[in-house]
């Protein structure tokens, strides 16, 4: 159903030359898989599909592109697109967003991803055309203290641990890292032209698989995601070693929401948290 509609929209866009390319999904080479594809020819739109394996965040392909793009976007993709527009990585006018309300994506065993379980923006927040009916959002109940209970449960539990336990967990997770950079490269909002780990003059992070350097890389990357991470799960999905990166990226998202009352990727016109300030921002940690 949705597949057909996406194909029709893409065909029309390409025929009318409204866009140069449509970025969507096609059938993957493995069972239970879909893979990003770039369609330029209206005759090829039949390759486009839509199913529950279309997990990749296609916004990843947008930064610094010059052409006009039709892009298939789920809720999380659309939020990443908003971030990219906010941060001048792509212009709104370049995009024709084919929004798709999403019921959550599944892994190859047909199990819903855990980040989809707590997703609060299944419907695209920005789009030019919507494929299918909007789905019911699963807004978590506000906790009396103002935090969302289900959403942040995992983070709050972790916060209560002792420093040594926290550190032990961090080390045990990150010691799996092989520094393939897939988490960074799969992330739509990791778009720096030169990442701090690639900088050579001066060199920020050592080049080896030294655990201290690996931790530095991940902490640095996670910090840079403040105000950018939409919890789309691209990094954990890409990681070949199954590192639990969301345990850390979610903390950044939570802090953004609780400290600055900023939820990522909802409105193009709102400034990201690090690009603005309030005079009464909390500073109880400062002497």
């Amino acid at each position: 159903m949705k597949t057909k509609k996406i194909q029709d929209i893409a065909r029309k866009l390409l025929k009318e030359k409204k866009v140069d390319v449509v970025i969507g999904f096609e059938k993957g080479t493995l069972p239970s898989s879909a893979t990003p594809c770039f369609i330029r020819n209206p005759d090829e739109v039949d390759r486009l599909i839509w199913n529950s394996f279309c997990g990749n965040n296609l916004a990843n392909y947008l930064p610094k592109r010059k052409d006009k793009i039709g892009i298939v976007a789920k809720g999380c993709d659309s939020r990443s697109i908003v971030v990219l527009i906010q941060e001048n990585q792509i212009k709104r006018e370049q995009l024709y967003i084919i929004g798709i309300p999403c019921d959550g994506m599944t892994d190859k065993n047909n199990v819903l991803h855990d980040y989809c379980l707590i997703c609060e923006h299944k419907n695209p927040v920005i789009y030019d055309v919507l494929v299918g009916e909007k789905v019911k959002e699963n807004k978590a109940q506000r906790h009396p203290e103002g935090l969302r209970d289900t959403k942040w449960q995992k983070i709050e539990d972790f916060e209560k641990k002792s420093s040594s336990d926290k550190w032990k967990y961090l080390e045990s997770e990150l010691s799996k890292c092989i520094r393939c950079n897939a988490c960074r490269n799969a992330c739509p909002t990791c778009y720096c032209k030169e990442c701090f780990i690639d900088q050579e003059k001066p060199r920020w992070v050592g080049t080896t698989n030294n655990l201290s350097d690996i931790i530095f890389f991940h902490l640095g990357r996670i910090f840079h995601q403040a105000g950018r991470c939409t919890d789309c799960g691209a990094c954990v999905r890409a990681c070949p070693m199954n590192i639990d990166l969301r345990q850390f990226t979610q903390k950044i998202t939570k802090d953004g929401e609780t400290l600055f009352d900023y939820e990522t990727g909802l409105d193009i016109d709102v400034k990201p948290p690090f690009a603005t300030f309030k005079e009464d921002d909390s500073e109880d940690f400062i002497k």
């Binding site: 520094r179 393939c180 799969a186 199954n242």
Partner: protein, 337 residues
């Protein structure tokens, strides 16, 4: 050398004996999946694996290897060569595809000017393979001149029969490990032969490898490269998990007054791989990098070493975050004009 048999129930005893003499590395089940890792006791070992997540190349060409140490004192450049490890290593349960990759690495690192570090490790390591009878969907070893029972690069190959392990010793070095074992009977040989045929039958080649070299010779300017790379996200999963990828980088690491020169895996997928100091980059976009990856594996290495740089283990296929399937790439190239 005669084939041997080892009763399945005696395997752990056999491995335990090896642990006394060697640093034994074998498949171990961990949180991230089944990985090749050092084992101190046989309980750690997990033999119900299709293939390990990491390849065994990291025991011959570690992800980061210290070449030498130095002290950064004023006006000196004293260096200390690192010492050799005394205990020998033994890799147990290496799949034939990984074994073939080692044979390829040997060509690169031991021929012409031998690489001192690789040579040292290689001489110090015994590699015992485990034939593969349950190939995965991602496996394609038979498409790249390999096979689920290939012995290339291995010192010995184990084949799992019903009650026994059928052992094919390949090199002299491992013969002494098996001297006390019984010789294989005709029946065992037949059973192993049958398993081999069955496994090979299950792995129909997915492309004709003979055509690919010729095709690639004239394919440098083929427009297909424009498309192939498009969804690649420039990460290093394919090259880091690949048992045959061996490109490396040499860097200096310092902390305070001390430092060491290290070599790290590098990946042709990374933009900085070929970047000159003058900022000129001969392989400036992912298009050139993908072309290099395919050309290196299927054309240049074949020409220089007689072997392909791909052994069909399927890791890059399985773990690529965007499902950029090398098998499909090759098929697309073969079909292109």
């Amino acid at each position: 050398m005669k084939s041997k048999v080892l009763a399945k129930k005696d395997l752990l005893k056999f491995i335990n004996k090896l642990i006394k003499e060697y640093d034994v590395f074998a498949p171990v089940k961990k949180e991230e999946g089944i990985v090749f890792s050092k084992i101190d006791k046989t309980d750690d070992m997990c033999l119900s694996y299709s293939n390990t997540k990491n390849s065994v190349k990291e025991f011959l060409l570690p992800q980061s290897e210290k070449l030498f140490r130095f002290a950064k004192k004023e006006n000196t450049n004293e260096i200390t060569d690192l010492k050799e490890k005394k205990r020998r290593s033994l890799l147990f349960g290496v799949r034939p595809c990984d074994g073939k990759a080692i044979a390829m690495l040997d060509k690169v690192f031991l021929e012409n000017i031998p690489d001192a570090y690789y040579k040292r490790r290689r001489k110090n390591t015994l590699i015992i393979g485990m034939a593969c009878d349950t190939p995965l969907q991602t496996c394609f070893c038979t498409s790249v001149e390999g096979g689920p029972f290939s012995i290339e690069g291995l010192d010995a190959l184990f084949v799992e029969l019903k009650e026994n392990y059928f052992i094919i010793p390949v090199t002299k070095q491992c013969e002494k490990l098996f001297v006390h074992l019984d010789n294989a009977s005709q029946e065992d040989i037949k059973e192993a032969e049958k398993l081999k045929k069955n496994a090979e039958k299950r792995l129909k080649p997915v492309f004709e490898i003979k055509d690919i070299k010729e095709k690639l010779d004239g394919a440098f300017d083929n427009p297909i490269w424009e498309e192939i790379h498009e969804k690649c996200i420039k990460c290093g999963i394919c090259t880091y998990l690949c048992p045959a990828c061996h490109c490396f980088d040499i860097q200096d690491e310092t902390v305070g007054e001390e430092g060491c020169r290290v070599r790290n895996w590098d990946s042709c997928m990374f933009p900085k791989f070929t970047m000159h100091a003058s900022s000129h980059n001969p392989r400036a976009t992912q298009k050139e990098r993908w072309r290099q990856r395919i050309m290196h594996k299927f054309n240049y290495l074949r020409e220089n070493t007689g072997m392909y740089g791909c052994v069909g283990c399927g890791r890059c296929v399985e773990y690529c975050p965007v499902n950029l399937d090398i098998r499909k790439v090759i098929r697309d190239i073969l079909e292109s004009k």
